[in-house]
Amino acid sequence: MRKKNEPNAEMLKGTLDMMVLRTLVSGDAHGHTIAKVIEHSSEDVLEVEQGSLYPALHRLEDRGWVSSYWGASENNRKAKFYRLTAAGRKQLAHEKDRWRLMARAIAMVMGEELPANGGKL
């Protein structure tokens, strides 16, 4: 469901990949679950565009950061599950560092101090 009342959360470029990887840390998931988890975790602030999610998943798979397999969903339908690979885990750590740096930098520019562990990532 669209949340028209929320500020339109255009995701920062490149952050979707990072969030997808982060989501997969807690276990394999298919596309719908991943979107749901991101939305819930962000308390519905972030809305995952399906038009971006699936190309992103394929791209991550192509780079070897996630692998995929066909399995059965919770409702017993054929679903494509994604799993974080070792390379993906490394990439996630790398992106996390970069993100922290960026977030801190932006906060400093904006004259605000972020809590030590900003964001839920």
Binding site: G31, H32, E49, Q50, G51, Y54, P55, R63, K78, K80
Partner: protein, 879 residues
């Protein structure tokens, strides 16, 4: 990775469809759980998903490599347009296939025969060493080596090179055994270290040791793989077994690997049996300095150079000459790599053929380019519209290149097949060529093939793309069919290509003409005797069974008597070596009546043993004196007959009859009883002064039966062999062939070269003619309206004919002039391949010009004629 993704776009797409389906299902379910009606739930789910198509689109584009996509697209488009004009496509592919195939075949031959290293260990260190004399040229710069010289060389060069000797001109009679016929085989004597010097060893069994390489050793032999398989069915039990060679027992100690081959400038890869030189060669042959029976090979030791070795050997040889000042003792040493030695004679012919195929390929490319240009011209409106609608110029160029690439790739694949067939044929047609067994495709040939395909594609593609000049696009849209200068620039470039094509054709034809003329000269050379209906059969009496001269002579006398008695034989005779069948040995002689020459000097005469009836059987004319008498045999065989050249050499301005010549080697004196006409020992070589003495006596154990009949002389081969079989069942015959076949065999190389170059010339001529016709037909079609107007305004048909004809012939004339000029520069390179033919043979140049103009005229006549017969009304109405 992304390439993989690119080709899996379709699968990714269907994966995505499933994922989206799942998403919709899950979302709908959640919505239902939230209390929405199923319909509303599905609607909301779809709303949330947004445009599924755009998701598909996005993923598809993410997975696409733009450049590759364009290439595939171009490929598809090209295949479609080409299959719409199958005639054009198949002609272009065929032309390319001919060009690429011929080049591929010749490149393979050049690489396998001339360039690939010999199949030995570390072959770059292997050299062939020869004797020579000061100022010697050609063959005389590389002459066989005397056994005595070799012994001294080997000793002095011990620290520089490992040296071995081989005498590859030997033959053995293999006795009939195990139900097999007797046969005569090519064999070689070699020193014990010959195989190890080459760096090879028998596949099974062992090599010779120094103990085998001695006069008192047990007789041993090593067999070639081919001979072992053919005669002994590849049975390994033959190892250690006995075989009969020249009626003596030999123990087989080894079988050579099937890959072994040895050939030199003086012998081919025909040797079936190897024996130890130290055991086989007479003692004096191994130790003299004036009897040159051997070839020498040397393997340089690490750090040594060939020039160092040669200078060392030259010192030794000069000392030998000083110690033994005989005329037949040489004073210098020469050497070249074993590879050069084996293939020296094939270099010029093969490179000439490669150049000829290169010309054919260039012509093929020009023709295909010309065809592509014609297509571009025909499609100029379509292309202009596409450009006007925003088609990128680069895309159009890549399309053009794709087209030429598809054509040359197809041509290349077909050409590979053609090359395969051509090589099979060549290996069968040229068994005489050294290293012909080494011819095979390899990685380098594959690279060459791919390179040729790309070069052709780029060449013809760029040629045609050049004409699709951007500035013309508007023009061709505006261009109504009334603007008669239509696309003249296309034709201009095509004319330039044509002139080049004609020029190359002229070069090929001139080369072919010269080679063909040289070959004709060679074939019609007078051997000195009438060559029709003469059969020759060669046999060798084994020393072991025919020990005494009396036995040998008795056998020969009985044999020739029985052959003459065969019904249908007009005449028959015996000679040691028949005309045209080789050197057959020479000796230094002096004239007894003349003042003695300085020590070692002498007159070099070729020596033949002949039987009294030989001269009349061969129809060699008697010029003075008489032939031999039947009683001039054995001890009374000290008479000689000279040929005309020998008489002039030995007795200038004198009557030779009754005079005497003295042989240096035999140390005997022979009385000259007659003078006969000259005969040639090889069809392509000048007459050599020759002395005949009786074959009955003078230690002859070899003889060639010559049989003359009025017709169908080949039919006597079997009856004569039967006669011989009855007289001695172990005696094989060899060289059963007519004199005509002898000449054919010695001119096979020249025939091959001239016919191939001629074939290439004809292909080029046909392509050039097709090109001329095509361009002119196109021009006439373009100018239909203009010509119609001319005729309507009163131009005479003849005028129109002349106008068009001259227009079409102009590139041919330019090309002819260019080609004649280029030929004049190039023909000098093939001088060494020409026999009694000057490179600047005016007849050849003239007839090539005439033929070319005639063909060009015919090619242009059809379109010109059509133009002159145009109906003006119709021509104008076609607009």
């Amino acid at each position: 990775m992304s390439l993989l993704r690119f080709f899996r776009r379709r699968r990714a797409d269907s994966d995505l469809a499933q994922e989206i389906d799942l998403y919709l299902a899950e979302e709908t379910k959640e919505n239902v759980a939230r209390g929405l009606s199923p319909e509303e739930a599905r609607r909301q789910a779809r709303l949330k998903l947004g445009n599924a198509e755009s998701v598909h689109d996005r993923l598809w584009r993410q997975n696409t490599l733009a450049a590759l996509d364009h290439v595939l697209h171009d490929l598809k488009y090209t295949v479609r347009t080409l299959s719409r004009s199958p005639g054009f496509a198949s002609i272009a592919i065929l032309v390319m296939a001919l060009g690429i195939g011929a080049n591929l075949a010749l490149f393979t031959v050049v690489r396998s025969v001339l360039l690939n290293p010999l199949p030995y260990r570390d072959p770059s260190r292997l050299y062939a060493i020869f004797e020579t004399e000061k100022g010697a040229e050609g063959n005389r710069a590389f002459m066989p080596v005397a056994g005595g010289s070799f012994g001294q060389w080997k000793e002095s060069a011990q620290s520089v090179a490992e040296m071995a000797l081989v005498s590859p001109w030997r033959q053995y009679n293999v006795s009939a055994d195990g139900g097999k016929l007797p046969e005569q085989i090519d064999a070689a004597w070699c020193s014990a270290n010959f195989l190890s010097t080459l760096g090879t060893a028998p596949a099974i069994g062992r090599s010779f040791t120094d103990a085998d390489d001695r006069p008192d050793a047990e007789a041993t032999a090593i067999l070639s793989d081919a001979f072992w398989r053919r005669r002994y069915n590849g049975d390994p039990a033959i190892l250690g077994g006995k075989i009969w060679l020249n009626a003596q027992i030999y123990t087989v100690i080894g079988i050579l690997p099937s890959t072994f081959s040895y050939s030199s400038s003086m012998s081919g890869n025909t040797i079936q049996v190897w024996t130890a030189a130290g055991h086989e060669a007479p003692d004096n042959v191994l130790h003299t300095f004036d009897d040159h029976e051997f070839l020498v090979i040397a393997r340089l030791l690490p750090g040594a150079t060939i020039s160092g070795l040669l200078s060392q050997l030259n010192t030794v040889q000069k000392q030998i000459k000083a110690d033994h000042p005989g005329g037949a003792v040489h004073d210098l040493v020469s050497g070249r790599s074993m590879l050069d030695d084996a293939v020296q004679d094939y270099k010029t012919p093969l490179y000439t053929l490669l150049a000829a195929t290169g010309c054919v390929l260039l012509i093929a490319c020009l023709n295909v380019a010309s065809l592509l240009i014609a297509r571009t011209a025909a499609r100029s409106k379509e292309l202009a519209i596409r450009v006007a609608l925003g088609g990128g110029r680069l895309r159009l160029l890549s399309e053009r290149l794709t087209e030429s690439f598809v054509l040359s790739a197809c041509g290349g694949v077909l050409g590979l097949l053609l090359a395969r067939i051509a090589l099979d044929w060549l290996v069968r047609a040229r068994p005489d060529m050294n290293r012909v067994e080494a011819i095979h495709f390899d990685g380098m040939v594959a690279i060459f093939a791919v390179g040729a395909i790309f070069a052709c594609a780029v060449f013809s593609g760029v040629m045609s793309a050049l004409t699709a000049d951007g500035k013309q696009i508007l023009v061709s849209l505006q261009e109504s069919s009334r603007s008669h200068s239509a696309s003249r620039s296309h034709a201009g470039l095509r004319r330039g290509l044509l002139a080049l094509e004609v020029g190359l054709t002229v070069v090929l034809l001139v080369g072919a003409g010269l080679l063909l003329k040289s070959y004709q000269r060679l074939r019609t050379t007078d051997l000195g005797v009438p060559v029709d209906n003469v059969l020759t059969i060669h046999l060798t009496l084994p020393d072991a069974r025919y020990k005494e001269p009396v036995q040998q002579v008795a056998f020969f006398e009985r044999l020739i008597e029985r052959v003459r008695a065969l019904p249908g034989v007009k005449a028959a005779g015996l000679v040691s070596t028949a005309p045209g069948q080789g050197w057959g040995g020479d000796q230094l002689m002096t004239v007894a009546e003349h003042p003695p020459l300085s020590p070692g000097e002498g007159l070099d005469l070729m020596v033949r043993g002949a039987e009294p009836g030989y001269f009349s059987a061969m129809q060699i004319p008697l010029l003075r004196g008489r032939f031999f008498k039947p009683e001039e045999r054995l001890q009374r065989a000290h008479v000689a007959i000279l040929n005309r050249s020998a008489a002039q050499l030995c007795f200038p301005g004198e009557d030779p009859i009754g005079k005497h010549v003295k042989s240096h080697i035999m140390e005997e004196v022979y009385e000259v009883v007659g003078v006969v006409g000259d005969t040639r020992w090889h069809i392509a070589q000048p007459v050599h002064p020759t002395l005949y003495w009786p074959i009955y006596g003078n230690d002859y154990t070899v003889a060639t039966i010559v049989i003359r009949s009025s017709q169908n002389v080949e039919a006597f081969a079997l009856p004569v062999q039967k006669v011989i079989g009855e007289m001695d069942p172990d005696l094989p015959v060899s060289n059963v062939m007519t004199l005509r076949q002898t000449i054919g065999k010695s001119t096979i190389g020249e025939q091959f070269d001239s016919l191939l170059v001629m074939a290439f010339g004809i292909i080029a001529l046909v392509l050039a003619a097709a090109g001329l016709y095509g361009v002119l037909a196109y021009l006439v079609a373009q100018r239909t309206g203009e010509i119609g107007i001319r005729i309507a305004l009163g131009a005479q048909r003849e005028q129109v004919l002349r106008l068009v004809l001259i227009d079409g012939l102009r590139p041919a004339l330019f090309g002819l002039a260019f080609g004649l000029g280029a030929s004049a520069l190039i023909v000098r390179l093939i001088r060494s391949m020409l026999y009694e033919t000057e490179p600047f043979d005016p007849m050849v140049f003239l007839s090539v010009s005439v033929i070319l103009l005639l063909v060009a005229g015919f090619a242009c006549l059809a379109p010109a004629w059509r133009a002159s017969r145009l109906n003006p009304m119709q021509a104008l109405r076609t607009e």
